[in-house]
Symmetry: C2
Subunit: 256 residues, 2 copies
């Protein structure tokens, strides 16, 4: 039974530095939590936005080192884009799902279908517009490293979600989703349970990790440098599956 929490609290983590390659994300988060009087405790979930994780892992590309392909040059010319950035997007993908109206939707190596392979040009933090940030190479491993470091430093096991902001079909506006998970089950499966009429709930699997990422976005912020959040009081289900169960198999998907 999915336990009913009395209340869940979302706490933004403030006072973090601009991140650069080699930074110890876990240690910096632990320090920042303590400094603002919300030291991590058992039962917390830590949601860390992708940008700081990628920067700490050195996943930043200088566009001056990129030679765009003919496809990238053509697409960039037609849609007023930087051909070098388009090239990076294509090289970070395993498959192009849509490439029209100036929009590139790809499937990444991780299996995510998203705009621009998750490559982002905002908030790079280099003081230059010639850099872009890539997704972590292995976002589950990124989450595990932060979780392990936190456990090492404060002696408690806090599940970690690495989140990113994805758009979606049919609805305007993007929302945060999980791209890496360590220590909790990303899906909550109601199948086999029964409702109050005795009818079996056939198809209700809840994307808990995405809902936690979305909730965290309410207290993180793209402009004021609050790149992580604590979720306190949510009765998550521990697990070691990583993000994999959340990625729909290609042949079950009606929109690829």
């Amino acid at each position: 039974m999915r336990a009913m929490p009395a209340s869940v609290t979302l706490l933004g983590i403030d006072g973090l530095p601009e991140f650069a390659e080699g930074d110890d994300v876990g240690a910096l988060l632990v320090q920042a939590c303590a400094a603002q009087g919300t030291a991590l405790t058992a039962g917390d979930v830590l949601v860390v936005t992708q940008k700081i994780v990628s920067k700490a892992e050195g996943r930043v590309v200088d566009l001056n080192t990129i030679t765009p392909s003919a496809l990238a040059v053509d697409f960039a010319r037609r849609w007023d884009k930087d051909a070098r950035a388009v090239e990076v997007v294509l090289s970070e993908s395993v498959r192009v799902v849509r490439m029209e109206n100036g929009i590139v939707i790809t499937e990444t190596r991780h299996g995510f279908v998203c705009a621009n392979s998750g490559v982002d040009a905002s908030n790079v933090g280099t003081g230059s517009v010639d850099f872009v940030v890539l997704l972590p190479e292995d976002s589950d491993a990124s989450a595990r490293r932060i979780r392990d470091r936190v456990r090492e430093l404060v002696g408690i096991d806090v599940p970690v979600i690495v989140s990113d902001t994805f758009g979606r079909p049919w609805r305007e506006g993007a929302g945060d989703v999980a791209i890496g998970v360590a220590g909790l089950e990303p899906l909550w499966d109601y199948r086999g349970k029964h409702d109050n009429d005795g009818r079996e709930l056939h198809s209700t699997v809840i994307a808990v990790a995405d809902e936690l990422a979305s909730a965290a976005e309410l207290v993180t912020n793209k402009l004021t440098r609050v790149p992580a959040a604590i979720i306190r009081g949510y009765p998550y289900k521990p697990g070691e599956s990583g993000i994999a169960p959340m990625i729909r198999e290609r042949d079950k998907d009606l929109f690829r």
Copy 2:
């Protein structure tokens, strides 16, 4: 500037009855909030799941009154479905987006693209499996009615989101999204703002109403009758646009 909240609290609303046609949702929510010691206060957002709203509005269909079309009969036979339920799904849609693998994705009159036109057979509450629940006729109007009733009863203006659980392409697991809004802007638009490198944020529009709905799902529950939540401390932007800005125009959508 989107203000940075210190913390946001999610509170499930417990102790509500099984809803039936004619029930005063606003009044019952006000009473239940007070009874559990979390009376509504200024700044709160109320998230109400679709099922109780639809039931209170009498949007329940007895499948014994439905005569399925040949299309519904054929699809139901092939995929082991109830042809009468398939007929209701089709009649609640303005367009079928996909109808394969036993899955029906439609566009509803409201403009939502979702499975089964939002028609749901679980938790109908009639004690029979021969009933299904439809989406509210006008889910913005549903949200407005609850907001107006709360204002009438407790004298404060609390924005209301009516939420439903939708699946999505590419990712397993469903999540709650907004289907009706009253009193807050559903989208937060960062466009025109600048990041720390002075680069304009070109395309970051956040689906705040969906994130609030998702967050609320963490404290509501399909099995233990917690069909609504208070979100306390989120600095929403007041607005009267309803859900419309969140519905992508058909010719801008790459997946229809």
